[in-house]
């Protein structure tokens, strides 16, 4: 086993978190160099994630994947720089930034995969097997019918369409947010509210155990 002497001149220590933050705020050559290093880091992240998700893009060649990785790295770079002030040092800066690359690459791949696909916002939940099943399945069938009824009666029309698109049609949330010109957080909020309404309705009808209210002050 060999060891590296930290005083060896060839070994360049990685920049500390503080120097990342200082350099990225610099408008001179240090800033340019930090931006170049950040882009390099993000490109590594996006290339890795795009390659990992390549099965979602069956027709994509190496050039297409590289285009996506480059585009996602650019988007991630903008996001990192915009949110630089929110870095709290709970992980290393490079770890924190790398996650932006992974996230933006995932969004880019899913957006591309769904680009030419119909995004269905159905208005009704169709239970495929609505017929009474064997004894051991009857409870599940009742729950499915109760859920179908709750979705029809407890949710607002748009809430219902969002829930069915995300939970039944499996439309990725960032794809739907993109189509609607909205944000993932807004859709998560809608989903959360809808789930709460459905859970409450199913509890009242005796199909679910009531859950203790954790938000009670």
């Amino acid at each position: 086993m060999t060891t590296v002497n930290p005083t060896t001149p060839e070994v360049v220590p990685p920049p500390s978190d503080d120097s990342w933050l200082t350099d990225l705020a610099d408008h001179g050559p240090d800033g340019q160099e930090a931006l170049r290093r950040l882009h390099e880091l993000l490109l590594r992240a996006t290339r890795h994630q795009v390659w990992r998700l390549r099965d979602l893009l069956p027709g994509a060649g190496a050039g297409d994947l590289e285009d996506l990785a480059q585009q996602a790295a650019g988007d991630a770079m903008v996001a990192v720089l915009r949110q630089l002030g929110t870095f709290e040092g709970r992980s290393r800066f490079t770890t924190w930034a790398y996650k932006f690359g992974v996230l933006h690459a995932g969004v880019a791949v899913r957006r591309q995969a769904w680009r030419h696909r119909e995004v269905s916002l159905p208005d009704t939940l169709v239970v495929v097997d609505g017929a009474p099943g064997p004894e051991e399945h009857s409870e599940a069938a009742q729950l499915a019918r109760a859920l179908q009824a709750a979705i029809a009666s407890e949710l607002t029309p748009h809430q219902r369409r969002v829930v069915l698109a995300l939970l039944v049609e499996q439309v990725p949330i960032d794809v739907l947010a993109d189509r609607l010109g909205s944000t993932r957080n807004a859709l998560y909020k809608t989903l959360h509210d809808a789930r709460r309404r459905l859970r409450s309705a199913l509890s009242e009808s005796g199909h679910l155990e009531p859950r203790p209210n954790r938000s009670t002050p």
Binding site: Q71, Q112, H116, T156, V162, R179, L180, G181, S182, T190
Partner: protein
């Protein structure tokens, strides 16, 4: 199967026509009159989710559009 209809990746500043049609259809199904839906889809800055949520809560489509109209000075992305 090829990934792209065009050799380059889409320019996100311009919503493809099929997305505009999709947005128009969703608005009309959400109760928007067609002329108002046309106004909304002409500006990609409108947040359809927010518009449809307001309508869900009893707001008229016309008022929802007035409430959520993008600021005039905003530059489209």
């Amino acid at each position: 199967m090829t990934l792209h209809d065009s050799p380059s990746l889409p320019n996100r500043a311009e919503a493809p026509v099929d997305v505009r049609s999709w947005r128009r259809r969703e608005l009309i199904e959400g109760g928007f009159p067609a002329p108002l839906a046309d106004v909304v889809v002409a500006d990609p800055r409108f947040d359809l989710h927010a518009l449809l949520q307001l309508v869900d809560r009893g707001c008229s489509p016309e008022l929802a559009v007035r409430i959520l109209a993008p600021m005039p000075r905003e530059v489209a992305p």
